[in-house]
Symmetry: C2
DNA sequence: TTCACTTTGTAAACACTGTTTACCTTTTGT
DNA sequence: ACAAAAGGTAAACAGTGTTTACAAAGTGAA
């Protein structure tokens, strides 16, 4: 009867325990520096037990990544609802991306910096990240409709801004900005960078 | 007498053999997926032999990274010498960066995507990458002197452009652009992106 | 209750990893 | 000729992800 449902709940509970333990460790020490034995001992089970719930270590990463995107997307969406102006909203979402990378460096790396192969189990690059991308893209298209960037196609703007924000986050994350900016106050610099990336373009396409 | 010098040359030759084998493997399969035993068997020595020439695996990476930067810098410098206009030169160096990332994905990751900790042996983030940065920065400053980006500080432009180009390279490298651009012709898109990133800014600082 | 069957957990093994140790041979400078 | 140093290695150490064989417990039906 309901035995089966209870067992399914139990199974889900166990998966959660594994995911929580793994997330904590991955975020702290990085995917490659966490062994299954450490995850196992964190939840006080044997290493082999984990394989009853996940087919391998990569699948754990994959699920965590998806959950992370879901959470990130939700928080982002909340904040963005309060900003009616598309361009202002675009800037703010860029700031959110950077803020996320700085406050959760481990999680950021998990979500945005692991290559497709490493996480991709069934040949489809997680669709949660796809949804994040779609949100961003429609925001850009709003701006374009208002003429914020002049006469230019969406793809160019989308990938330019995405690259800019992502690259900045990545450079901060790997410690390269800190190594080269030389004790500069980072926060106002970030604002200026975002402002620069999203500065208005020419109304006329040259040449 | 000259015995000592010959021995030093021999030692250097052996280091080269190790570096060459390691580079080939690292570039093909990634740092973490290459074992010392594979490097060792590639040069037909025992694994332990390598430790007579490098203190550990990370040091091999560190040296390769440095050499890579040296080479990259040299090639870049050659090309750039032929372009007198600073802004045009800046765009071209961005293209060089992307081209490098696309034609040598493994090497790109080795050089630009390994975090400081992983390669940093003596607490100093390799100075060869620093020189690359200095080159780029002075190019930006030339452009600023000509008013190419309006009235704005160097740091903002430097980090904006660096982020943009680096981020794009990284997104291409991890397969995310391919996954999302959906069969678009990449090459002309790249041109448009670079053109967009380096579009002229306002002459007047708003607000 | 008894019985087959599935589920859940584990110890042990497998084939790896980076690195260190002890030891041997060869080369060196005196 | 001889002590010292250098170059190379097999074996071991402690670790990795994963699989296997097996035991215990829970389940549903006779």
């Amino acid at each position: 009867m309901s035995t089966q449902k209870r067992r399914e709940r139990d199974k889900e509970k166990m998966r959660r325990r594994i995911l929580d333990a793994a997330k904590q460790l991955f975020v702290k020490d990085g995917f490659d520096n966490v062994s299954l034995r450490r995850i196992a001992s964190a939840i006080e089970y044997s290493p082999a037990a984990i394989y009853r719930y996940f087919k391998n270590k990569r699948e754990i990463l994959s699920v965590l990544r998806d959950e992370g995107f879901e959470l990130y997307l939700q928080r982002q969406a909340e904040r963005m609802r309060e900003i009616p102006d598309p361009l202002e909203r675009l800037k703010e979402s860029g700031k959110g991306y950077i803020r996320f990378a700085m406050t959760n460096p481990g999680y950021f790396r998990l979500m945005f910096c692991t290559d497709c192969e490493q996480v991709d189990l069934e040949g489809k690059w997680a669709e949660s990240s796809m949804r994040s991308y779609t949100h961003f893209r429609s925001n850009v298209e709003e701006c374009l409709a208002l003429g914020s960037f002049g006469d230019i196609d969406a793809d160019t703007v989308v990938f330019s801004l995405w690259s800019g924000v992502h690259g900045l986050a990545h450079l901060i994350n790997t410690g390269q900005v800190a190594a080269l900016s030389g004790g500069l106050d980072l926060d106002p610099l970030l604002d200026r960078i975002l402002w620069f990336c999203m500065r208005p373009g020419d109304k006329e396409h040259e040449k």
